[in-house]
Amino acid sequence: MSLIPENLDELRGKAREFALREFTEEKIRKYEEEEKYPEEIRRKAFEAGFLDMSNPWGMLVAMEEFCRVDPGLGISALSAAFGSEVIMLFGSDYLKKKYLEPVLKGEKISGFAVTEPSAGSDVAGIRSRLERRGKGYVLNGEKIFITNGTVANHFYVLARSSPPPSPEKRHHGMTMVVVESSWPGFEAEQMKGKLGMRATSTAHLKFRDVEVPEENVIGEEGKGFYYVMTFFDISRIHVATQALGIAQGALDMFTEYIINNGLNNRETYQFALADMATRVHAARLLTYDAADRLFKFAPDPVKTSMAKYFAGETAVYVTDLALKYTGMQGVTSKLEKFYRDAKIEEIWEGTNEVEKLVISRMLLKKR
């Protein structure tokens, strides 16, 4: 049984061709150095049809191929609808028309705002407050490390709307709302100086008495935590795919190095190559298996977390090993950027530690 759908070759070929054409060395360095969001590339990728949420396999393969050429540009180009799955799954028709449609048409950009200065992996520990006022709500709080933070037109924001009923039920009483970046009281500050992924927009968001209309509540009040967890079942597969693309890209560069330097017959390089290629293949199988389940509307959080954890670790492992054997050429080439970019894959959208918790707790629960 093959976990990889057979009809992906054409899509893969188009995505690779696009990335090789658009992600030039000059652009990669420019956006990296300026720490600037690549709007022109996002637009072109959209126009070429890569941001098509009705074709999930297509989006997945495009992410892999884009990240294989450049992770920063690739992720920025394909994450313009970041978080919009929560509207698709739980939003009202009003929210779908107002916020989802323009994103799907490539006219607007969205962001997903959950992490806070004092709560990352521990989502239930957030402190942002959503309080009833008249017919609507008022939002106060801060969010940190938010992707698309300085470029998104609206955000899907998680906040506490009522106190937890008990210390064990801290995940109760949280609500998701849509907040527009043009609203009074909203502020976004770009967070510069990242180790890698510098072409992606990352921001510190502040909400000061931001008025949120009632109709901007996503789904039901108090169920925000579940929506976030459901979203992670989707987004973690995309993150696993990013990591897979990075690992494959590093493997490509290492293979080229071996050939260009006539090292084909040296066992040290052969063993390193075999080691990398085996892990990349395993990461691909895990990721596609988790994706296959999701796309058949039967997501398995254990398989998803396994894919995200293993693919992230593989990206770091492969870039590290490739650097180790390419010496000065490696640390001054595109490979050094892949090494820096890769590390975030073990952190964002659930750290390796959180993924391990998900895997083990759910396995134990089944017994």
Binding site: G120, K194, L195, R266, D320, K337, K343, I347, N352
Partner: protein, 341 residues
């Protein structure tokens, strides 16, 4: 393990690093080592630590110098490598020739001039009184003087005439800069030096490199420990979670064992020195990865001061050896047989 003098040197270096480097480490990465810092490194005696007193040096033993590098590296690996470059690689190369030593070493020790040399292969040729060619990887490309071999036995000092062809985007030690340069200059001084001009100059300083890597590993561990005792998640301190606590415990043991091993080695050319270098770089890489992970999203940002150890340790690995060549050399020492396949 250390004498009183050595411990005194370590505490001097530690105080210097806390006072002069802790606050400006991030600036060093962006702007490099300025004249003021170079002068302070000189005043503290670090640039002439092991060099003879007749040139202004302190005549210290290797252990003391390693302790200095280790302490500096905890705050700024770039500064530690700068000291190693000036002191050991340039200074100790020049004192092989009396005329060169008398002309220049005092200026290095006093921090009056800055120096550099090619890290790896160079393609320089003497043509009459001029020297021409290219150097693919030159740290400190704007240093006042360049010292290099022009052929296997001719050491040349060059001032000026070095043009940057391309500034490399280097993974680590960004404060030093790393460029591909072309050289077209008058050879200021020439010397016939009877030594093996190994293309990898850092090979001759295995123990010093090991000390720098050890400092990085220790700093990464200390920062991870501090953060784990202040950051809370799921109603507990990070340090209260067994997997993390046990991991930090394991690394603390590895670092302590490695420190004893490194400082027990007397011969910089020995098998043990090479092994210590490889082990300490590997440990610095692994520990810095863990430290970054413990810091979560914060660790991914420069201002936290953790990610530089992740970059620098990987860059150090590339700068000091090509892995295979180094391991072949050490394997021969260990096995008496050359692994060729």
């Amino acid at each position: 393990m250390f004498s009183e003098d050595q411990l005194l040197m370590r505490s001097t270096a530690r105080e210097f690093a806390q006072r002069e480097l802790a606050q400006r480490a991030e600036k060093i990465e962006k702007e490099g080592i300025d004249n003021e810092l170079r002068s302070k490194l000189a005043s503290a005696g670090f640039l002439g630590a092991m060099l003879p007193s007749k040139y202004g040096g302190s005549d210290l033993d290797r252990t003391s110098f390693m302790l200095v590098l280790q302490e500096i590296s905890k705050y700024s690996p770039t500064t530690a490598l700068f000291v190693l470059l000036q002191h050991s690689l340039v200074g100790r190369t020049l004192i092989r020739d009396l005329s060169l030593a008398e002309s220049y070493v005092q200026d290095i020790v006093s921090g009056k001039t800055s120096w550099t040399l090619p890290l790896f292969q160079r393609n320089l040729k003497l043509d009459g009184g001029r020297i021409r060619g290219e150097i693919p990887y030159l740290p400190l490309p704007r240093a006042d003087f360049l010292v290099s071999y022009a052929d296997p036995k001719t050491l040349v000092v060059i001032k000026g005439g070095v043009t940057e062809v391309r500034a490399h985007h280097s993974l680590g030690f960004r404060g030093l800069g790393l460029s591909h340069v072309s050289v077209d200059s008058v050879a200021e001084k020439l010397s016939q030096v009877e030594v093996d001009p190994t293309p990898k100059v850092l090979d001759e300083a295995s123990l010093e490199v090991a000390a720098i890597a050890l400092g990085m590993a220790q700093a990464s561990l200390e920062r991870a420990m501090d953060y784990s005792k202040s950051r809370r998640a799921f109603n507990s301190l990070l340090a209260e979670f067994q997997p993390l606590a046990f991991q930090l415990l394991e690394y603390d043991a590895q670092i302590k064992a490695l420190e004893r091993f490194i400082y027990s080695i007397k011969d910089n050319e020995s098998l043990e020195a090479g092994e210590a270098k490889l082990l300490s770089i590997d440990l610095a890489k692994r520990m810095s990865r863990i430290s970054l992970q413990v810091h979560g999203g914060y660790g991914y940002f420069e201002y936290t001061g953790v990610e530089k150890f992740y970059r620098d340790s990987a860059a150090l690995e590339a700068m000091v050896s090509d892995q295979v060549g180094e391991k072949v050399k050490l394997s021969v020492l260990l096995l008496g047989v050359e692994p060729k396949i």
